[in-house]
């Protein structure tokens, strides 16, 4: 029992509610949201440290004992993801202050930004399937509002599709919960792990597992279900797109990691499906990125391809693969949002995000160019940056498990990733200065780069000091692969 676990949910919820009443005061809005995100970072970092030294922490809400009440569980995976997402929220908030119009900030941007964090942190921390559905909905409805805010023609059209597809998949989530409740009579994840382990592994369990895969696959944009992502992530402004690209699909990946390591680890067919879809997702995603000629669209399609790697990691299902998946997940949260923010900077300078309309940024704004190059190389997996080590662990694990075909696909995807990143660099940063906005040359963007700098520093740090971080990931994977510690600490068994 540790009440600290609920704070990452409670802080943004309370502050968000308070902020609704201070709609017109810009300074109150900004200070309160920065303070609350700062508090979230402090609490979640302390929580991660506590979990690392003392083991898994749980909170029983309303003091109802575990299989009956709702529990919040912080293990290494969830607490470190909460810390990362809070950090990302702070970065995006500072970027938003410098790019957003006053009108957008006045129209409840801050409360919904904080409610989004409630949903994200809640999904990471909850130990109950139905509670997970509720936090998913909190996250989704805030994202619906953030994505359609501004009401441009394009934005309205694409957010409508985003809303409908996500709502349909949420309804299937309810149906999947209904099935699993019908079979086992419980919704507590630790209790489910015990009960499903005791049941005979019949086709019913496989059907439920695949139904959950459909739901989480839609949220995390894996192969046959990714079509909504590229257009809808193109619509919102850079700060919001960075937050969505960095976090929302990763919440889907987190739930896949959680459910398939904890609840359905016995079902071999699902892992085969994960492997096949992982390979297809990364390859088709990167082909989409190669064919695009728009800064933001390339990045959006790349999200799909990167999710493929993580799905493959879960599909391989060895401790090293899970460690690699987490490393890759953390790397991707950092790098992807940094790249989206760079797209925002380039758009701010040139007034366009289309690659064919801009070139020569390196001559006018050298710092933007070189920092972008570091981040892009990290995404492509060039050592000594962070992308390399995540992929390296995944590929070694794949070789050990004998999944040669999917490893070959992932290597080919890596080459194409490098190609599409270099396409952005060569067309928009090299060459003669050519921009639609005639004043573009003299625009100062130094202050915009400050929020991105910590992200770039982190990707370098994750690469150069890979040893301790990999050690941490291995311990985390150990905890996931052997769910007995999780089950015992939730159900209070000694």
């Amino acid at each position: 029992m540790n009440n600290l676990v609920i704070l990452p949910i409670l802080i943004p919820l309370l502050m968000g509610v308070i902020l609704i009443f201070f709609k017109d005061s810009k300074s109150v809005q900004r200070t309160v949201s920065v303070i609350s995100v700062g508090l979230m970072i402090a609490v979640s970092a302390y929580l991660t440290y506590m979990v690392y030294t003392e083991g898994i922490q749980t909170t029983e809400l309303g003091d109802w004992p575990a299989p009956f009440g709702i529990v919040l569980v912080a293990d290494l995976l969830s607490s470190s993801l909460v810390a990362l997402s809070s950090l990302l929220a702070l970065v995006c908030l500072f970027f938003a202050y410098q790019t957003f119009s006053a009108e957008r900030e006045r129209n409840y941007f801050h409360p919904f930004f904080l409610f989004l964090m409630v949903g994200v942190n809640g999904s990471f921390l909850t130990g109950d399937l139905f509670n997970l559905f509720v936090f998913f909905e909190v996250m989704l409805i805030s994202s619906f509002i953030l994505i359609s805010m501004g009401s441009k023609q394009y934005q309205l059209r694409e957010s409508l599709k985003y809303v409908i597809i996500n709502t349909v998949s949420s309804m299937f989530f309810v149906a999947a919960i209904a099935y699993i409740y019908g079979v086992t009579g419980t919704l507590n994840m630790a209790d489910l792990a015990v009960k499903i382990g005791e049941l005979e592994q019949t086709g019913v369990i496989s059907v439920i597992a695949v139904l959950f895969l459909f739901v989480f696959g839609t949220k995390s944009a894996i192969f046959p279900l990714y079509y909504w992502l590229p257009h809808s992530y193109f619509a919102p402004p850079a700060a919001i797109a960075a937050l969505f690209g960095g976090l929302l699909t990763k919440v889907g990946v987190y739930t896949i990691m959680r459910t398939y390591t904890l609840i359905f680890p016995h079902d071999q067919t699902v892992f085969q499906i994960l492997l096949i879809f992982g390979g297809l997702t990364m390859f088709i995603g990167v082909l989409g990125a190669v064919s695009q000629f728009d800064f933001k669209r390339i990045l959006a399609v790349h999200i799909v391809s990167q999710v493929g790697y993580m799905i493959m990691g879960v599909g391989i299902f060895t401790p090293l693969a899970i460690a690699g998946t987490f490393y890759f997940l953390a790397h991707n949260i950092i790098v992807k949002s940094a790249l989206f923010l760079f797209a925002g900077v380039a758009e701010k300078i040139t007034g366009t995000s289309h690659l064919k309309q801009m070139s020569g940024l390196l001559k006018t704004h050298p710092y933007v160019g070189w920092l972008f190059l570091i981040t892009a190389l990290s995404l492509a997996g060039i050592p000594p940056l962070s992308g390399f080590f995540g992929k390296f662990a995944l590929i070694i694990a794949g070789f050990d498990a004998g999944n040669y075909f999917v490893i070959a696909v992932s290597l080919a995807t890596g080459v194409l990733t490098l190609f599409s990143m270099m396409k952005i660099f060569m067309t928009s940063f090299w060459g003669e200065v050519k921009m639609p906005d005639p004043q573009a040359k003299d625009k100062k963007v130094g202050s915009l780069l400050i929020p991105i700098l910590p992200l770039v520093a982190l990707t370098i740090l994750l690469g150069v000091a890979a040893e301790p971080f990999m050690q941490f990931s291995l311990e985390l994977a150990e905890q996931l692969m052997d769910p007995s510690e999780y089950i015992n600490s939730v159900l209070n068994k000694e």
């Binding site: 139905f130 909905e137 409805i141 359609s148 809303v163 309804m171 309810v174 099935y179 409740y181 257009h231």
Partner: protein, 112 residues
């Protein structure tokens, strides 16, 4: 009774699928609403229809109906209500901005 309910759920899911695949924006939204009703009814049926006494009153009954699914479905209905309201407003704004509710015409073009 369970068989009848399951058949109703099947009909609701079929109707919802048909509506979601149609081209009119409003029909799609009604389809989503029907789908949510189907999912809730499925939950209620799968966790067992009324067995024994109501869960709250009296301590003598030998069997009680499981109260959890009803609480969960109530939560899901409230969430669904909020999302439906939001979807209707969004659809109306989209209709105003694009002057059409045909999803084929809302597909978008390559160069924008």
């Amino acid at each position: 009774m369970e068989i009848l309910m399951i058949l109703t759920v099947g009909v609701l899911f079929t109707v919802a699928t048909y509506m979601i695949l149609s081209k009119s924006m409003l029909r799609v939204i009604i389809g989503v609403v029907i789908l949510s009703h189907g999912a809730h009814l499925l939950f209620l049926t799968l966790s067992g229809l009324k067995q024994g006494a109501p869960p709250l009153l009296g301590e003598e009954a030998s069997a009680y109906t499981d109260p959890l699914p009803q609480a969960l479905i109530l939560t899901a209905i409230v969430i669904g209500f909020g999302i439906t309201a939001f979807m209707l407003v969004l659809a109306y704004r989209t209709y105003k901005a694009h002057k059409t509710d045909n999803l084929d015409e809302l597909r978008g073009t390559e160069d924008e």
